[in-house]
């Protein structure tokens, strides 16, 4: 009985609270020799009250709510996966359930090492779902000094988004994706029109709201030309 009452309370909480919003931050610091560091941050802090309520429930809107253990295991899996990739070292992760911020960071020898992280996963996904995502995400051409973030939009994203119920879609309305690439060399140009180049010419900043990304209106693809 008490459990049911708590469930009602929490559900009411979850409904009345503001829409959940989250940020994803992708930061890469690239050195002249092609090595560097990468930091990926999932920040759900803005919706922490809602998340804390949801986390106490078993399921919301028919979706199972992951437990803290589930999240920790998923992050651990990601960490283990990274450890297996040659050229990736110094893997660090942080888990903060107080503010709901999760990060994972690593050093890489070559930009192509980063690709290896997702290559397997993307190729498998393409085969299974007949999608056409590029399996190389990052590249760095040392001879021309160009750094590229690749991304090919696939209609599958839109389709799976529209398959979600209205309430579930709202999750993405206030979400954003930010990438910051920092370089030792100076930036000459960046191809993505939404990208901003820092006044010191050493960083490229790109912030896109999740909806534009999902609907294919904007892309994270960017080619940055560095001085030689």
């Amino acid at each position: 009985m008490l459990k049911r009452i708590t469930t009602y309370c929490l559900l009411f909480f979850a409904i009345t609270l503001c829409t959940s919003c989250f940020e994803i931050l992708e930061e890469i610091n690239l050195k002249t020799d092609g090595s560097g560091t990468m930091l990926v941050t999932f920040n759900l802090s803005k919706s922490k009250t809602k998340l804390a309520s949801i986390m106490l429930l078993d399921s919301v809107n028919g979706h199972k709510v992951p437990s803290k253990d589930d999240i920790s295991i998923a992050l651990k899996d990601a960490e283990d996966h990274l450890k297996k990739i040659p050229g990736i070292s110094n893997i660090k992760k942080t888990i903060d359930y107080e503010n709901y911020i999760f990060t994972i960071a690593c050093d890489f020898d070559k930009v192509s090492n980063l690709d290896a992280v997702f290559k397997d996963l993307i190729q498998r996904h393409n085969k299974r779902e007949k999608t056409n995502f590029n399996s190389t995400n990052f590249s760095f051409n040392q001879s021309t000094n160009t750094f590229a973030r690749k991304f090919s939009y696939d209609d599958a994203i839109k389709k799976s988004f529209y398959r979600l119920k209205g309430d579930d879609r709202k999750v993405f309305e206030d979400a954003s994706y930010t990438s910051i690439y920092r370089f030792d060399n100076l930036v000459e140009s960046a191809t993505n029109l939404n990208a901003k180049i820092a006044p010191n010419k050493k960083a490229v900043f790109l912030k896109i709201d999740a909806m534009s990304l999902i609907l294919g209106e904007k892309s994270v693809a960017n080619t940055v030309q560095l001085t030689k």
């Binding site: 009345t16 931050l25 009250t49």
Partner: protein
């Protein structure tokens, strides 16, 4: 299934007990009966009003498109919306049959909904027409004024074995079944049709019994038997003789005033193919009883034996060592068997549909079922639902889901559930009144179950609860009124009853030992002092609080720094009240909490930091009530006595007189919920909803006799131009579609 959907859609728009109400077509033994009263509904919202509503227009557009413009309004659908619609479920030999009865005005309307290929498959017989859908074991049968859709939940191995494609669009099974169904009659197979009594003396009375077996494929009903002479008296039973069962007809012959050769005929009227069957008795009556003539040979009727080809070994003659040949033969045999089973099923489906449509029931219709009549009566409800014999339905459900379990065939082998659940019926009535819509459900249980329920739900509601909240400000409440003491006493007894007489694993001996130990160890009264069993949860309103969150700021060179910002969040407040006489235990627990950390005593109230919860809990023990809430402000006000309770008699009654209630102050909560959290589709219509939502409540009453009643009421707002509660629903839906 498509048709079932169509039916449901139509019901929406629909529907007077008239001379030929379809209810007579529902058998007396139906387990579930649901009805929708066409006229009651069309009186509230007329067909044309519905057709002109947005929902009606949308529906008509779809129907029109589907039928290439044949159906443009309800009139052309051919459905008689002023008659009653029914659904019923029957369970026979573990198979559920679901039937829908739809009154027709003009069968052509419905016919036009069929596709060309479906039209070709329609079978005609006398004034009946029907269509069998083999994929979902559904038959649609109609005559001039009624349409029947029956669907059987027969599980078969058809789909999960071998190729579905082999049979795709092959309706030969159905066609065969249709042919066979036309020949579906009971057959009176007599051991002899003629009895020769030899030579008797005038005045003797001879009696003979003719035995027979019903070798046909449907139940036999004898309606009459007459003899060619008053001297011969046949006697028979009117009871139904099942297919395969035996019966008898005895014939008494009085030879008074008779002499010489006698030939008497007995004519039986029954539901066999010919409708009449004949029996003969003959013999010789002499003054002295001595035979004068040689009696004719007894007629021997030869029965032609049907040779059934054994499909199982049909391929044996071709058998060779080739493994595949053998497998192929096995597969064919299985297919043939499956085919035969399916044919049998369709024959049954067609025969049952005919029985229903003709209302050809030996035991009469549901109107002869006292339980149904008592529960449903002739109320003016727009829709009713009656479920009888829960046990039967449960049992059937369990055996089909679980199959044979560890303990045997079904859980009912280990539980004596019947002691508690036998004789349980559910009645539900939907009413659209002028100012409110109500849905009532009442459970009637057997004496045993009622006894325990009375014990559990005889709790009292604490009047002090009403001091701590203001009715006008709340979003809603949930009350629960149980007797902890009664429950702790009744529960072990219920378990004992469940296992009473269950010999398996000596459960009937072991269980009582366990339950008595339970009762011995627990001091029901003492526990009831801690938690009496009455509780009330009130959503007291929304409060805006400032909440911190982390985000990032970037300098001009895009170096990020973590910053903490604040935002406003609307948090719903709640109060949870429980009656308890053990203030001491509570305070002791709190003192431990303070020592251990996590509990803070401040201004006379206890604040508890609940791990993982998005809020802090505040508590206070006031009089005999433990009040818990998430707003320290409210709890403090309760403690200081500065809160002004304001609860009307209406709500006091709802909370106190029911074992459970749920109230939603729709008016207030629609206004309070921040608009950005609502689904986008509703956001723009918020004003309409704020203006047009009243309130709703759900109550579960206390036990009255053996009945427990639950009721849901949705109130219609005043002065908003809604004609009645049904029109109100339609208007709300219209607003949503817009």
């Amino acid at each position: 299934m498509k048709k079932v959907l169509l039916f449901t859609t139509l019901c929406f728009a629909t529907l007077v007990v008239s001379a030929q109400d379809l209810i007579t077509k529902i058998p007396k033994d139906a387990s579930i009966v649901a009805s929708i009263k066409g006229k009651n509904i069309t009186d509230l919202v007329s067909t044309s009003e519905f057709e002109n509503s947005k929902m009606g227009k949308m529906m008509m557009e779809k129907l029109s498109m589907k039928t290439d413009g044949v159906v443009t309004n309800f009139e052309t659908l051919g459905i008689n919306l002023s008659e009653n619609f029914y659904y019923f479920m029957q369970i026979k030999d573990g198979v559920d049959t679901h039937s829908f009865l739809i009154p027709l005005k003009d069968k052509r309307g419905f016919f036009s909904l069929l596709s060309e290929s479906e039209k070709e498959r329609v079978e005609y017989e006398d004034d009946l027409a029907y269509l069998v859908d083999k994929y979902d074991n559904t038959i649609t049968m109609w005559n001039n004024n009624t349409m029947l859709i029956t669907s059987t939940d027969k599980e078969d191995s058809y789909d999960d074995y071998y190729g579905y494609n082999d049979y795709y669009d092959d309706y030969s099974v159905v066609e065969d079944a249709v042919e066979e169904a036309k020949t579906i009659y009971p057959v009176m197979d007599f051991y002899e049709t003629t009895y020769n009594f030899g030579t008797i003396k005038e005045g003797d009375i001879v009696e003979h019994t003719f035995n027979f077996t019903n070798t046909g494929n449907s139940p036999l009903i004898i309606s009459d038997a007459k003899a060619s002479c008053g001297c011969t008296v046949p006697s028979f039973s009117m009871e139904e003789i099942a297919s395969g069962a035996t019966g008898s007809i005895s014939v008494k012959f009085d030879s008074s005033h008779k002499s010489g050769s006698q030939n008497k005929t007995v004519t039986i009227t029954a539901n066999t193919e010919n409708g009449v069957e004949k029996l003969y008795i003959k013999g010789y009556v002499s003054e002295d009883g001595i035979a004068e003539a040689v009696i004719e040979d007894i007629e021997v009727e030869e029965i032609e034996e049907t040779v059934i080809e054994s499909t199982e070994y049909a391929q044996d003659s071709y058998y060779n060592d080739d493994y595949y040949t053998k497998r192929e033969a096995e597969r064919k045999a299985r297919d043939a068997k499956r085919e035969a089973e399916r044919k049998e099923l369709f024959v049954d489906i067609i025969a049952n549909a005919k029985t229903t449509l003709k209302a050809d029931y030996v035991n009469g219709s549901i109107l002869k079922n006292p339980s149904y009549l008592k529960s449903i009566g002739s109320g003016k409800d727009e829709a009713t639902l009656w479920v009888s014999d829960f046990m039967g339905i449960y049992k059937n459900m369990f055996s089909s889901i679980l199959g044979s379990g560890y303990y045997g065939d079904s859980p009912y082998d280990i539980f004596n559930a019947g002691a508690l659940y036998d004789g349980m019926t559910l009645t539900s009535k939907l009413n659209f009144e002028e100012d409110k819509a109500s849905l009532k459900a009442s459970y009637t249980m057997n004496n045993e179950m009622a006894k325990y329920n009375r014990q559990m739900y005889n709790g009292k509601m604490n009047k002090n609860f009403f001091k701590y909240f203001n009715e006008d400000e709340i979003e809603g409440y949930f009350s629960f009124n149980m007797s902890t003491e009664g429950m702790l006493e009744a529960y072990p007894k219920m378990v004992e009853t469940m296992f009473d007489g269950v010999e398996k694993e000596h459960l009937d001996d072991l269980v009582p030992i366990g339950t008595r130990l339970f009762s011995l160890i627990l001091d029901e009264e003492a526990i009831a002092k801690i938690v009496r069993g009455d509780m009330l949860l009130v959503m007291t309103g929304l409060e805006t609080k400032e909440v911190e969150y982390t985000t990032y700021e970037y300098d001009e060179n895009y170096v990020s720094t973590e910053v903490v910002k604040t935002k406003e969040e609307t948090v719903p407040n709640f109060l949870f009240m429980v009656t308890s006489e053990e203030k001491e235990i509570f305070e002791r627990l709190m003192r431990i909490g303070i020592k251990e950390g996590g509990v803070f005593f401040e201004n006379g109230i206890y604040n508890v930091d609940v791990p993982d919860a998005p809020f802090m809990l505040s508590m206070v023990f006031k009089d005999d009530v433990l009040v818990i809430g998430n707003s320290a402000k409210e709890i403090m006000a309760i403690n200081n006595g500065t809160i002004k309770g304001n609860v009307s008699g209406k709500h006091k009654k709802i909370i106190s007189n029911n074992s459970s209630s749920l109230y939603v102050n729709g008016k207030k909560s629609v206004r309070d919920i921040p608009s950005d959290v609502l689904p986008r589709e509703i956001e723009s219509k918020l004003n309409y909803f704020v203006d047009n939502v009243e309130d709703a409540y759900l109550t579960v009453g206390k036990m009255k006799g053996n009945t427990m009643e639950a009721e849901m009421i949705i109130n219609k707002p005043e002065d908003k131009g809604h004609k009645n509660s049904l029109a109100y629903f339609f208007n709300m839906i219209n607003a949503l579609i817009d």
